[in-house]
Symmetry: C2
Subunit: 142 residues, 2 copies
């Protein structure tokens, strides 16, 4: 059967998992009008004000060009602020962005709880760790 073949392919299953996990995450973060990656970006910038675009992108594991687009949109929403210094683009939260921080944290906690409710806390954590390790193994192998 065809389906069996597909099930044995890591590309395929990993994408499926990402899409399913994404549905939950998007649902949770939709409450504050952000998609999950944007929300995470804000958390990162909160922790490291004046972070450069490159560092931000690398922490989020997105391409720099993608980082630029995200920052662009968050500037339009008035949540972050970009100041270029020489060739560096430094990103910082605005007052409004700062105010959103607690809500984002709350969404995140709820999301984590939902994953935990589905998989069980121990198993969920183990799964996340397995997936993380696998992605790091792949990255290093390339």
């Amino acid at each position: 059967m065809m389906q069996e073949l597909l099930k044995g392919c890591l590309y395929f299953t990993a994408n499926q998992l990402a899409r399913e996990a994404g549905k939950l995450a998007e649902e949770e973060f939709r409450k504050i009008g952000l998609s999950p990656t944007y929300a995470f970006l804000i958390l990162v910038v909160k922790e490291q004000p004046r972070i450069t675009l490159t560092e931000l992108s690398s922490i989020l594991h997105i391409a720099p060009s993608t980082g630029t687009r995200f920052v662009d949109k968050l500037i339009v929403k008035g949540l972050v602020d970009r100041k270029t210094e020489g060739k560096l683009a430094k990103v910082t939260l605005t007052e409004k962005g700062l105010q959103l921080h607690d809500e984002i944290q709350a969404c995140w906690d709820r999301l984590y709880d939902r994953y935990s409710a589905i998989f069980g806390k121990e198993e969920g954590d183990a799964l996340t760790e397995t997936v993380l390790k696998a992605s790091e193994t792949l990255r290093k192998a390339e």
Copy 2:
């Protein structure tokens, strides 16, 4: 540290894994000018000629609208053929699509070998299975 938080989030790690796994897969399938999902679509249609759009989409775990776009593009490339019968859209390989089948299969085998070389065959299989199970658990939970 921020990075630690992100590493504990399934949404985040699953997307990372999907992107890393995708790089390998795209590289492999680029040789025949298709992206992995298109290639898989062709394998599925080969196995089930006159498959309906809905069934095809569901096997590939993509939304029906996405299925339509994919089929559109493959028609333009001359690899598949769509015949609407009543309200159903039946998809079949063209001669050209059929001829591509062996090459796709070969790419797939090579891709599998590459994953196996990186993770080890046993571990790679186990990983894929874990990821598959997780995505199914999530899907059922929603």
